[in-house]
Symmetry: C2
Subunit: 405 residues, 2 copies
């Protein structure tokens, strides 16, 4: 299941980025499971990675290589996360970079590796390496849709976003892909997001942008509260649009930032819409909080509550479960008499109990929709935060009880 | 579904406690849904209550009445939690106490009210009050099994525990009942536990005992991470065993404490075994932690992980999900190279990856069992903590998607 139409957008090619896809048979024979991104010389790359302390070997290697120099290739396999694989996993991730570097004529340190799939199985390095030449032969500026499909795991559909905007008189293109449907509570990034633009962006700003925009998009979604070992989100700027370099004080920054933010958010929302077993796309809109911390504590406690999520699945306006979740969110001194809880445009809770004008019929009408906003007004301050999640269905259990078998 | 045999123990009557059951038709016509406990004069009662900030009206009233004086009656209804019911809910809880007090000839403040069931519906006070005389007529020292059944909600079976021990040369009896299957992550107590003994216990010690023993039993179980608005656990000491009063320095305290601890733990475990949709009873045994906080953070992160819980449901030794959960538990400086993860007697993870002597067959053999211990050795200190939970099955979703309809 999934929420809303799942069609890919028209992808605008990004000058300086070519994508190649091949079948390595990592987990499923014949599956296109290997993706290579080639970046033009002088491209700049910034990224954010999982905060899971047991990050996967490719995350460690990608972080190292990113700090060492000039990335020219990204290589992504699905079907195996190369996580929890100890010293052998590190050797395998480095060997992947060496093999691709040798085939492409660049140093191993110019290759960033990414893996997604089952945790704890050794990476089938031989099969992966054997498929690299085919991926290089396949490189094309137009292979964004194939790459979006190539990085999927339990995703039911590929995820992409693309924009063109005029920045400083030049047309600038942004295209991106993401994947993820389970083990999704990104905490500094999600596995996996790749966004490229042909704008020329000052390196420090590029890192600021990926951090800030990732924080408001990928870091505000949750499917099941489980932070992956392999999360990574990379922002690539090839500089081939022909425009001037954009820095933190550039007058052109706001329009570029806005377009990038739209792409980040669209990719993040696409992950929630394709959440494992999802039938609802849910916005937690926390208002009038005293701090960001308390707003997020309330949002995530409600978003992670199995009881709230199963009520959403049942289209049941069971606001008692929302109320109970808010009450256990760990925010000291909440005033139940002041708080309001809204389902769409319908007030559920006011003055410490069910709102006078609430009726089951009105609540049900909102719950029957596929996209639902739960608004919680804490009446303690001026902070607003939004978090996106999905419901918890039989299919979530089926998918995760059968994933390895 | 539920784990293990669900038969009630033989209940030893507790001198000074009588129990009465009646049908009030709170939610389901004909259901025995009203329970009254009568305590002999001079009985002492101590309790712990939910830490959910939106605690239910009966919790607020029970706490007030407990602080005011000498409880003589406990009244418990199932089918309606009287939570999220605002000012009317408080009036209804107080009116329940007044009605029972009047019928029994005691002040309203001598009555402690408890409610469990759906949140946010007005309590059907008239029906509840109308059934009180029948419950009083039904009072008997032997009605523990009927009371255990009377307080059930989504429980599939009643829960009880009973012991007799010799304390200071006197035979002392302890009997208790509990309920709960969903919205279970007690935080100071669970909804609902009632344990009575005929020992005479000094009031301050009684409160210490219920707090300490509740902390190591009810506060160490979780089914779905959702802390109820109605949790309460009451320890009653009637003093009718004939023995001397037991205080904090009494040489008889250890044997009494041990027997009470067994009853608390048995009742808490019974809730997990009957967790909504449960097919596994799971012990998280965290060892060699540097602090209680970090041990519990790891235990609860693993216990609440939907991915770990669905793997347990599938009897899938998917240790990558356990590893990922440990890594996101928020414990700074974890050393993946040092940590060991065990499934029963089988080591899964050692030296940063799958243990050399691990095989899927050995892991599967443990996973196929109905009772499973996951041991995580953090190798950071000397603290051990245990937490109990269950798996996450299709039936959990079914039960909670259909609860109100």
């Amino acid at each position: 299941m999934a929420v809303g139409p799942g069609t890919l957008p028209e992808f605008f090619p990004v000058a300086g980025v070519r994508l190649g896809i091949a079948s390595a048979g990592i987990k499923t024979p014949g599956r296109k499971d290997l993706v290579v991104l080639e970046l033009a010389e002088d491209s700049r790359v910034a990224g954010i990675f999982t905060t899971n302390q047991f990050c996967a070997a490719p995350v460690t290697v990608a972080r190292q290589h990113l700090s060492q120099g000039q990335p020219r290739y990204l290589v992504i396999n699905t079907g195996n996360a190369n996580a929890g694989t100890g010293a052998q996993g590190m050797r395998d991730a480095l060997a992947t970079c060496s093999a691709l570097g040798e085939a492409a004529g660049v140093p191993a340190a110019a290759v960033l590796p990414f893996s997604t799939g089952v945790i704890g199985e050794p990476l089938p390095l031989d099969r992966l390496v054997a498929a690299l030449p085919a991926a290089l032969d396949n490189l094309s500026e137009t292979h964004w849709p194939e790459a979006a499909a190539g990085i999927m795991t339990t995703d039911t559909r590929p995820k992409g976003s693309s924009r063109q905007v005029t920045v400083g008189g030049q047309r600038v293109t942004i295209s991106g892909i993401s994947k993820g449907a389970g083990m999704i509570r990104p905490n500094m990034a999600t596995m996996l997001g790749f966004i490229a633009t042909d704008a020329r962006i000052e390196p420090g700003l590029l890192q600021t942008l990926v951090s800030e925009l990732g924080e408001r998009s990928f870091n505000r979604i949750t499917i099941d509260s489980d932070t992956s070992t392999n999360d990574a989100c990379m922002l690539i700027a090839t500089g081939q649009s022909g425009g001037a370099e954009i820095g933190p004080d550039s007058p052109d920054l706001p329009v570029l930032r806005e377009a990038l933010a739209e792409v980040f958010l669209e990719l993040a929302h696409a992950i929630v819409r394709d959440g494992e077993g999802a039938t609802k796309f849910v916005t937690l809109d926390i208002r009038e909080a005293a701090s960001q911390d308390e707003a997020l504590a309330v949002a995530y406690t409600v978003a992670h509550s199995p009881l709230v999520k199963t009520a959403l699945y049942a289209s049941d306006p069971n606001w008692g479960r929302i109320l109970a979740a808010v009450g256990r969110a760990g925010v000291a001194g909440l005033d139940l008499e002041a708080i309001e809880i809204w389902l769409g445009e319908v007030c559920l809770v006011r003055n410490g109990g069910r709102a006078d004008d609430y009726s089951e019929e009105r609540g049900q009408a909102v719950m029957d929709q596929e996209e639902i906003t739960i608004r919680i007004d804490l009446k303690r301050g001026a902070v607003q935060e939004r978090v996106w999640t999905c419901d918890f269905s039989h299919d979530y259990v089926t998918i995760n009880a059968e994933y390895r078998t």
